[in-house]
Amino acid sequence: MSNHQQADTPFRLFWNEFRSSHLALGALVIVVLIITLALLAPWITPQDPYELSKLVLIDARRPPGFIGSAGFTHWLGTDAQGRDILSAILYGLRVSIQISLSAGIIAFSLGATLGAVAAYFGGRIETLIMRIIDLQLSFPAILLALVLAALLGQGKWPLITALVTAQYAYFARTTHGAAATERSKDYIEAALSTPLSAARVVFRHILPNCLPPLIVVATVQIANAIALEATLSFLGLGLPVTEPSLGMLIANGFQYMLSGRYWISIYPGIALIILIVAINLVGDQVRDQLNPRLKR
């Protein structure tokens, strides 16, 4: 029937092309690896860094390779409280990823729906929604997140709320642009002239076709969320001291940098960088692939 024997779904076509870029594929592998390790943290780490009773102060500030009193090797050293840095990194990543993904998904859903609704209805509704979005986007995300985190106090949900508030506007803006383009296309006119309900047209037809630019924004925003969360924790907001995320680990270790105990800050920092860069590489490939697709 056609020239395409192998891939049929748009996703499979996309995946085939994605695979051919070794850099992006490698980055994706790294991301998946890190996420898997982080999620499995409670089962694979030698120590639970959040269990204060397990920490041995004598083992504090030991360099990488040190064999601690509990009998295992601290591959990346210990921090000021005697936590195994490697365990702390994995737990920290776990927390970071949980929070960023939750915030990302909520921001995505909220923003995409708002943007699509604004584009679909047009007129005053569109003006109202988009002006609020514009207003919000004119505030730096960090400022917004800082203020909210300070107001709402510490904890996971206040942090997620702050992140969602800082980020949903990007999704809304992107969706609005894409949805406005799709809205005027023939297949939407055809669906409307059947007639089909507005809800069905927006959710079954417009939004799925807005996915390409949205996915690009999503990858960038998740990386931003991780960085943002780390920043907030670094500054003392966000999570409590007893559940250190990567940002807090880096903050805690800062004072020891000059005295030569670099491992307390550097290794969490490197882990953060690797994760963010890998996510950005994946996002770059996705963006490049989705662009020339316009000329099929």
Partner: protein
């Protein structure tokens, strides 16, 4: 239905367009509103797409709507399909308005369906064609979940595609096949009227014949009432019973297709027919055509009086100021031909 039969057995009017007009005006921005409040004259660029059109579509009739781009035929088609509301006038299906009232009117009926020009753009690229075809009927209760698969397969077969096609995505089909899917989608709603907007214009020449034959089959076997919009006079002549010619938003001539082609009464119709390059099988010249002078005026500022007077070789003084009414031609065997011209051709 032959031309003689058409005159003797007038079918009931199914879709009636009465003095319908459509203007497009871009909405004023907040700045413009403020300027208007302060007393400034705000230039509203109004496009007069359709101007006081009256048209009757009879049951079982295939009516061709021809004209160049900018003449309003696509807009009129969409008004009749319930996509654009008329600014003035009315469009009724069996006496019931096609669109509701209010600021953002919705289509009130499923009995009119549309086939769009570009098969690449009129199908959702992310939805399997089976779902595209079955979506509307399922939503409106024409079929239930259980019978959906067979229902879709039946319509695919009607347009000449295999049942397995339902599982595929639009990009896996060729242009002609996609257009068949678009036709199946319209037919699956079991419409009384099919509005086809340039359905073969985007297709390759050798595929056009296939789709034209499909339309002929639909006309003969399903007795569908169709409005066939096209700028291709050859295709129109082949498929339609009657034809309406539009120029800059107005209908200038209407009548049985063969009669209008053989004896056009409006100077524009005559000029349009003459301007199409036609292969001739005899004579010195291989191709004959004669270009119309001048440019198509802009629908933003249509000429006064008869819209065609600036390009008409027969224009006289009154044509500049007086809009011609559509009148039935007086001579005996042309009594079903409507012309809007002060000096129709003999």
């Amino acid at each position: 239905m032959s031309q003689a039969q058409h005159k003797l057995i007038p079918n009931p009017v199914l879709l009636r367009v009465s003095e319908a007009s459509k203007q497009f005006a871009p909405s004023l921005s907040v700045g413009d509103h403020i300027a208007a409040l302060l007393g400034q004259k705000v230039d509203q660029r109004i496009v007069h797409a359709v101007d006081t059109v009256s048209l009757d579509l009879h049951r079982g009739e295939v009516l061709g709507l021809v004209g160049e781009s900018g003449c309003g035929k696509s807009t009129l088609g969409r008004m009749m399909a319930g996509i654009y509301p008329a600014s003035h006038g009315s469009i009724m299906l069996d006496g019931v308005p096609v669109m509701g009232s209010g600021k953002k009117p919705l289509k009130t009926t499923t009995r009119i369906q549309m086939v769009f020009q570009d098969p690449f753009a009129s199908l959702d690229p992310r939805v399997r064609v089976g779902e595209t075809i079955g979506e509307g009927p399922l939503f409106h209760g024409l079929v239930d979940e259980v019978g959906l698969k067979d229902y879709v397969a039946q319509w695919l077969e009607t347009v000449g595609l295999p049942a397995e096609a339902a599982e595929r995505f639009p990009h896996q089909f060729s242009g002609g096949q996609r257009q068949r899917v678009a036709i199946a989608r319209a037919l699956a709603m079991q419409p009384d009227v099919l509005i086809c907007d340039e359905p073969v214009a985007s297709l390759d020449v050798s595929i056009q014949a296939q789709i034209i034959n499909l339309f002929l089959k639909l006309k003969n076997e399903l007795h569908l009432t169709m409005l066939f919009i096209s700028h291709d006079l050859g295709v129109i002549r082949h498929i339609t019973d009657n034809i309406a010619v539009m120029y800059l938003g107005r209908i200038v001539e209407r009548g049985p297709t063969i009669k209008v082609y053989d004896h056009p009464r409006h100077p524009y119709t005559r000029a349009l027919l003459d301007s199409i390059p036609r292969l001739v099988t005899d004579g010195e010249e291989l191709v004959v055509f004669k270009a119309i002078e001048g440019e198509l005026p802009s629908p933003l500022s249509p000429p006064s009086g008869c819209h065609f007077h600036l390009r008409c070789p027969f224009a006289k003084e009154m044509c500049k100021s007086l809009v011609p009414d559509a009148k039935y031609h007086q001579s005996s065997d042309q009594s079903d031909q409507l012309v809007a011209c002060h000096f129709p051709l003999a």
